[in-house]
């Protein structure tokens, strides 16, 4: 029943492949880097030095060059509509490479790795792989591509989560992550299959036009969308698809926790935005589609639930990593607010919020690692009196937490400001969402402040009050992060302009 392509067609295919490769250079470069790392690991086996990490850093840094060059290229889709290149995608390329770099840096700071793992080799390779996967997530415009890239990210994530093989918590986290991830991605694929069935298309843009022109059975559509949402929701860790995240975040190695909580969440959002902005049919008004399936209430439900659940449950956490895990759920909720607005301003706000979240969350986790190095614990009670013993770390952590709460003059405040601006500019209908967001952020203040409370207001149990000194590079890095958080909190024009320019999405027709 299939007729084979003629020679001419094959020529055309090859030609377009050759053309497409030009758009694919950063990914190729990173893949090469990936293999290179494995080779180096084989060569430099057993030698305890930072050869690998340095190479990774340099390599990742090098990729900026190629990504930057892509600005020159025209936005468009290639590989037969599997893959797109647009400002939106570029934004996330930068984002993921940067987060990869930060992940490597804080990995270098984490002393747990010396004790837990023998060879660090494939670790960095896997981080690179994850970067590639996430970049592809952000750029794929086809259900198949989406599925593949997501699985690539997931698998590397499973492995990295379970990287401390002899550590029970790490392994348990890996298992849970695996099972949960497998199920939800399975459901997502099932949803994909149904969409495919409805439209006979796998390309998002084609799907959208198909749905718009021929219409569809709302029941099947909502069902499939829900299943897809299960997959995405699991990536962004939004209620009610969040259950894996606290356990995984607590169990995984801290750098991976940070990495997951920032990067893979961002990737999920990239996907979510692309899918919901492009694939979902839009009538005149956003979300007022042909047969009145209101995605809006669906997403609103998700975001409100995430904000409330994340913040409220975080009140009870005694483990800092777990606390931050719940807070990341809450932040998923705030980010969703930006998506709900469904306009350029909303996109800009979301991207900006991602940037701010990137900075403050990595910072927080970095301090957590530094403290864990010294105290070997992540329990809030063991933070007593640390403020005096680690002044810089304490101050930095306070700044990051304040930023997470969203108080000026920090980056987090501006993020919230932009999200709420988007909501309010949209109209009084969305005011209530803003109210909820505000309320929950007040609640969040309490549990965030628990940490400074223990660090400064309470005396440490053991009486030795000597200052604990981190290494100089660590201190510098910390100071830089802290200053950036405050600086961008006061002068955030470049970031927001960057976010704005990046909010252009190929094939997007709603604004």
């Amino acid at each position: 029943m299939f007729e084979l392509p003629s020679g001419a067609e094959i020529q055309g295919i090859i030609a377009s492949l050759k053309a497409s490769v030009g758009f694919f250079i950063p990914e190729i470069y990173l893949s090469v880097l990936f293999m290179l790392l494995i080779v180096i690991d084989l060569v430099a086996k057993g030698r305890k030095n930072n050869l690998l990490s340095i190479t990774t850093l340099l390599g990742l840094a090098g990729s900026f060059f190629f990504i930057y060059q892509q600005h020159a290229l025209p936005a468009g889709e290639f590989f037969f509509g599997m893959y797109v290149l647009d400002e939106f995608a570029l934004f996330f390329k930068y984002f993921f490479v940067l987060s990869g770099i930060l992940a490597v840096i804080i990995t270098m700071a984490d002393e747990q790795f010396e004790t837990e793992v023998k060879s660090i080799g494939e670790y960095y390779a896997l981080i690179i792989a994850m970067v590639i996967g996430m970049i592809m997530m952000a750029s794929s415009s086809d259900l198949l591509m989406i599925f593949l890239s997501m699985e690539l990210v997931s698998f590397t994530a499973y492995i990295l989560t379970g990287y401390f093989k002899r550590n029970a918590r790490s392994s348990e986290a890996a298992l849970k992550y695996l099972v949960y991830g497998a199920v939800s991605s399975g459901l997502m694929v099932y949803g994909f299959s149904l969409i495919y069935g409805l439209t006979a298309q796998t390309n998002l843009i084609k799907i959208s036009s198909e749905l718009a022109t021929h219409g569809y059975d709302p029941l099947v559509m909502i069902f499939s969308t829900l299943l897809v949402l299960a997959g995405f929701g699991y990536k962004i860790g939004a209620v009610p698809f969040h259950f894996w995240s606290p356990d995984v975040y607590e169990g995984a190695p801290t750098p991976i926790t940070a990495y997951l909580s920032v990067a893979s969440k961002a990737a999920g959002f990239a996907l979510l935005m692309r899918f919901f902005y492009i694939a979902v049919p839009h009538g005149g008004q956003p979300y007022e589609d042909i047969l009145g399936i209101d995605w809006l209430s669906l997403l609103i439900l998700l975001s409100v639930a995430s904000m409330i659940y994340g913040n409220v449950v975080a009140l009870w956490q005694k483990n800092v990593k777990r606390l931050l895990a719940y807070s990341s759920i809450a932040h998923a909720g705030y980010l969703l607010l930006g998506i709900i607005v469904m306009n350029e301003l909303g996109t800009q706000a979301t991207l900006f919020y991602l940037l701010s979240y990137f900075l403050m969350n990595f910072g927080a986790f970095y301090v957590v690692i530094l403290i864990a190095n010294k105290t070997g614990s992540e329990n809030i009670d063991d933070y007593r009196g640390l403020g005096k013993r680690m002044p810089l770390a304490g101050a930095a952590l306070t700044v990051f937490l304040i930023s997470l709460v969203g108080l000026p003059p920090t980056l987090g405040f501006v993020g919230k400001l932009m999200i709420f601006s988007a909501l309010i500019a949209k109209g009084s209908l969305y005011m209530w969402l803003a109210f909820i967001g505000i309320m929950t952020s007040v609640i969040s203040l309490y549990y965030y402040m628990l940490i400074p409370l223990n660090m400064y207001l309470r005396e440490s149990r053991q009486q030795e009050e000597k200052e604990i000194s981190q290494g100089l590079p660590a201190q510098i890095f910390l100071a830089v992060l802290m200053i950036l958080t405050i600086y961008f909190g006061l002068f955030f024009t470049p970031l927001s302009d960057f976010a704005l320019s990046s909010s252009a999405m190929f094939g997007l027709t709603l604004y």
């Binding site: 405040f413 400001l417 601006s421 005011m431 002068f491 024009t493």
Partner: protein, 544 residues
Amino acid sequence: MLSLIVFLPIIAGLVILAVPSSQKQIIRIVSLLAALAQGVLAVLIWRGYDPALPGITAGPGGSPLGSFQFVEKIPWISLHLGGFGSLNIEYFLGVDGISITMVILTALISAIGVLSSWTIQKQVKGYFILYNLLASAMMGCFVALDFFLFYVFWEVMLLPMYFLIGIWGGPNREYAAIKFFLYTLFGSVFMLLVMIGLYFSVTDPVTGNHTFSLVAMATQSNYIKDAILGPANVFWRYVAFIVLFIGFAIKVPMFPFHTWLPDAHVEAPTPISVILAGVLLKLGTYGMIRINFPLFPEVFRAGMYVIGIFGAINIIYGAFCALAQKDLKKMVAYSSISHMGYVLLGLAAGNSEGMVGALYQMFNHGTITAMLFLLVGVIYDRAHTRQIEKFGGLATYMPVYAALVTVAWFASLGLPGLSGFISEALVFVGAFSSVTTRYIAMVSVLGIVFGAAYLLWSLQRMFLGQRKPDAAYDLVVGEDGHEHIHFHDWNGKLDLDGRELAMLVPLMLITIFLGIYPMPVLGMLTTSINKLVQVLSPVVMSQM
């Protein structure tokens, strides 16, 4: 000039950051110098201030110049919002009659606070860094004319305060600190929403863009008719007003939202109590005058009655609670709740007498309450207790202290010849003259009696009569045959020492001088207040 006065303390803080934490004296001196320099600047600003310019709203041609003074207006942030033009935030400072007095007050109280912080021994470095940060933020709030800037300063105050109470506070400090933080944050976050809403509803007549400038917002004609907070959108305007009002009322603190204050005061160290009562509470009422009322005049007029009632509740309720307190500091805390009630009442009157009285009361309450808390601190340093019944007959043994306490107490109960009287009198004059609040004023007058009651009663129990058997000090017969008292583990001067006098005497002189001749302060206020009353009056509203 204003930038300097705002950021001097922060600069001092950075300097301190460089000083090794062992050099306590240097740290103290640095921040004292900063505070004094601030004072000097405040005096310069005061001298350079021209009371003829009204402020409140924009001057001729919609520009702040010609209306505000010492204006500094630099574009700070201008960024593009997709489809919504651009977000323009300005670094916009300026003073008018409303803020100038507060600026002076802040400079004064900050300096006093530094002096009174001399006794802090624990983590001096951190303390003074936070203290200076706080001082900057407070000053900034009073001179900021851009809502965004104001909000930033407003929120920046919270964290240092939290730590200052939480680290250097009393036994129950954690609770007090977090309570303060959550309460005030709860009030202020909603302000954020209103701020954004206002931004999208107001255009700058000069540039035509949306703006955060409070000056532009204070002119109703700058509102877009059907914007979210535009004149057409009555419901949201009311909501916004109430939200803002609650935000500020928590800071004041107004009756149902006041419970953080006694805890915070009881736990906070003396200098922080001084700052808290002297300046922070004023921020609440200042916010109302600067932002809440002129931006929503019609809602204000609709709500005058309610505000007045809350004021009356504050006055009487606070007085009664103070009457029942056993802890001297808690009593003073409640007394300041009562006194802020006068401010609310005066504002609710909505006429010049009332508003002038309210602002003057803000100033006087700043100085007087600072005095009260300092005096409480003096006895607490010596006796390590504030329980009123642990004293008695102190007047015999600490005459100077007793004399100062008497003056302060009488100032607080509004004795003529001391500044508090004039402001309270003006408040009542205003409140009674306006038909809206006449009956409220008639009720509030009771506050005068009960105010006298709790103050005199505590005065009697602590200073008059004989030493109580279970007093916090012993009687010893000195070599000169006279009886002296001796506090356990206090080896400083029994009566006030030089530093304490240096803190108290200036405040006292100001109180007395302004009680006899108030014009130096009132003269700066009146023009702006009259302008404000005009803005709030229906006449202006009908023009829009």
